[in-house]
């Protein structure tokens, strides 16, 4: 996993609430056995007509936002299915940060496993950032994980909270599995105890 430091660029505004993972990556693209290549189908049904042509009004089809690395989204982003294809598709498209006032649980966790930073801000801060994002190519936003800060186009900052462990893993691009396997002794001890106390498990 790539290390996450600072991401800077134009942010795409997606004010719709409850953007679910079916919208982010519709199920017909879940038949892959690979992680890569999903970016071209990100937001497929919102982004493309049935004949494959672009829907011009969709935000990521607009010139200013075609290479956005940041999305500012309405409440409860990523609800619905647990598909990790959603963060894979976002990442493959180039999105590294999603800012919203709330996220669905599983999606939130899945982001960290893939080097995407989901940032939770207050509804007022989200609205302000949404306003920035709507200004298009002149309004660049910078997200600094180390400092836990979003720097707005006017230079003011919005700070955000993040779990220390998740921050650490993201900053260093760490693999969870290797970290957990360092606890091998505790895991085996647990299993031994379980075997005698709950042999049916």
């Amino acid at each position: 996993m790539d290390k996450f430091t600072v991401v800077e660029g134009v942010a795409a505004p997606m004010p719709l609430i409850n953007i679910d993972t079916d919208m982010i990556i519709p199920k017909q693209f879940l038949k892959t056995i690979k992680r890569s290549g999903l970016g071209k189908n990100l937001f497929d049904e919102m982004r493309f007509n049935e004949d494959g042509t672009e829907i011009p009004s969709f935000i990521l089809n607009k010139e200013a936002y075609r290479s956005s690395k940041i999305i500012v989204a309405g409440d409860n982003f990523g609800c619905g299915s647990s598909r990790e294809h959603a963060p894979w598709a976002l990442l493959d498209f180039g999105i590294k940060v999603v800012i919203s006032s709330s996220f669905a649980d599983i999606f939130y966790n899945n982001c960290f496993k893939n080097g995407i930073l989901p940032v939770v801000v207050s509804p007022e801060e989200r609205d302000a950032l949404m306003g920035d994002a709507e200004k298009g190519s002149n309004a660049r936003i910078s997200v600094d994980l180390e400092a836990q800060e979003i720097i707005r186009p006017d230079g003011t900052t919005v700070s955000f909270e993040i779990d220390d462990f998740k921050k650490h893993c993201l900053l260093h691009g760490l693999d969870d599995i290797a970290l957990s396997l360092e606890k091998e002794k505790s895991i085996s001890d647990f299993e031994k105890k379980n075997k005698s106390q709950k042999p049916w498990v």
Partner: protein
């Protein structure tokens, strides 16, 4: 004195391996695997030279992609689906995991076969790369969906890195009126809390209505906990739970059964245990409900009317406008005047034997209205056979339903069972998102009894007035 604990606290503590700076490592007792969210996880294991730590605690079954018609032993026509299902079989063989193949009678939707085979037991931690894993919480187990990276993590370590959730209690008191089912209860709860109301929480469902439900009904309730945003939903096990798990293929036998039972009887929330949020609902006020929009929180009693976006606040106004346009509905329209094209009965929410019996009861002496496409997709091969033995299958076929093989089918339409653009469906599944049942398809969620009523009249209908 030890402080009183919730059921969730108890299961959590029993599975805690280590707890550092707010991040905990918990042990996973059961891992259910299906074809869509696992190939990348198995690939990751192979690439790093890792093994599955506990193949005996892991079970794999194909369900999302598989066709529900034709001769399934001949294989899957769709190449991509075939590759995914083949990959699951190969990975299960390679890593030594129990696998129920498409032609095995035990095959079915992963959340139906877990309990059916006794993989799911009270007090366990159960995970699956699928958000409706909450279903298994009906047994008093802590069960939730995980992403593919976490699937790989569990395969390799049999543990999961977690942060403890908050406790929420949903109390459904009193009793349910005639024609009101577990599905109406769970949809009504989401209607109250919204799709984000349970975020960060594990919900314990309690109260006389919940206690009165069968295990099937409890599974329906817990299944949709995720639709309320909760990490998991659970119900304290009781004599019904124990009777359900007794004698299942994987459940404990003889002296182990006694030992297990003693432990299971300690699984309840202590009096005075702290809940961060409590929602009280009077069961007698719950009506048969349907969804009108594209979010499971868009729920109304069947005698209601399509709402006006103006009745909402904030971001929901735009969302409602968008969903009414998508659904082809107008504010003020009576829900009972909405005509449907299709009826889908099945899914991990309502694909169990009790659900099919419910449909059969409503259909007694009645027929599917001419021109309506109506299909029944049993949740597992065993449910299918049982319904055939009980005569339900024959009755429903006579009434005009298509009788399919087990799988997820039109719940998410990854196989050929899909809605066409604009096609309107009365569905017993759990999600009415845009495009969920096929691009442009319009989904109304409801109970099996209500879906049967819609099949008879060709429109959304109150089963009580049939």
């Amino acid at each position: 004195m030890v402080s009183p604990k919730t059921l969730y606290d108890k299961i959590w503590n029993e599975h805690l391996i280590s707890d550092e700076s707010g991040t905990s490592l918990i042990y996973i007792d059961r891992h259910l695997v299906h074809e869509v969210t696992s190939p990348q996880a198995f690939e990751g294991l192979k690439l790093s030279g890792r093994k599955v730590r506990c193949p005996d605690k892991t079970v794999a079954v194909p369900d999302h992609n598989i066709p529900t018609t034709g001769d399934r032993s001949k294989g899957i026509e769709n190449i991509e689906s075939k590759i995914q299902v083949d990959a699951l079989r190969d990975n299960a063989n390679y890593f030594g995991i129990t696998y129920y193949d498409v032609d095995d009678i035990r095959q079915g939707i992963v959340h139906i076969i877990g309990p059916e085979q006794g993989w799911t037991l009270p007090g366990m931690t159960v995970v699956c790369g699928d958000s409706h894993t909450a279903t298994h919480g009906a047994f008093g187990s802590l069960a939730h969906g995980i992403g593919t990276s976490e699937v790989e993590h569990v395969l390799a370590t049999q543990t999961l890195i977690q942060k403890k959730s908050k406790n929420m209690k949903v109390n459904v008191t009193g009793s349910l009126g005639e024609g009101v089912t577990a599905k109406d209860v769970t949809l009504s709860v989401i209607g109250k809390t919204g799709t984000a109301g349970g975020t960060g929480h594990v919900i314990e469902y309690a109260g006389s209505v919940i206690e009165g439900l069968s295990m099937e009904g409890r599974m329906t309730v817990c299944n949709m906990a995720i639709e309320g945003g909760a990490r998991a939903g659970l119900i304290a096990p009781d004599h019904k739970t124990f009777e359900y798990v007794r004698g299942r293929a994987m459940s404990p036998k003889n002296s182990q059964w006694e030992k297990a039972l003693t432990y299971w009887k300690t699984l309840y929330s202590d009096p005075g245990a702290h809940f961060d949020q409590i929602l009280n609902l009077d069961g007698s006020e719950i009506a048969p409900v349907v969804t009108w929009g594209t979010s499971p929180e868009d729920v109304l009693p069947i005698d209601g009317k399509v709402p006006d976006p103006k009745e909402f606040e904030g971001g929901k106004i735009e969302a409602v406008k968008r969903s009414l346009e998508y659904m082809g509905l107008n504010p003020g329209q009576r829900l009972e005047d909405i005509n449907i094209d299709t009826v889908f009965i099945g899914s991990c929410t309502n694909g169990r034997i009790e659900d099919l019996r419910e449909v059969a009861k409503v259909m007694k002496g009645r027929k599917v209205k001419d021109g309506i496409r109506a299909m029944i997709v049993p949740g597992s091969g065993l449910v299918k056979v049982q319904a055939e033995e009980e005569g339900i299958a024959e009755q429903l076929k006579q009434a005009g339903f298509e009788w399919r093989f087990a799988g997820c089918s039109m719940c998410l339409a990854m196989n050929p069972d899909q809605l066409a653009p604009g096609e309107r469906c009365a569905a017993t599944s759990n999600r009415n998102f845009e495009g969920r049942q096929g691009r442009g398809g319009r989904t109304h969620l409801m109970s099996p009894a209500m879906a049967a009523a819609a099949a008879v009249t060709g429109r959304l209908s109150d089963v009580r007035n049939l």
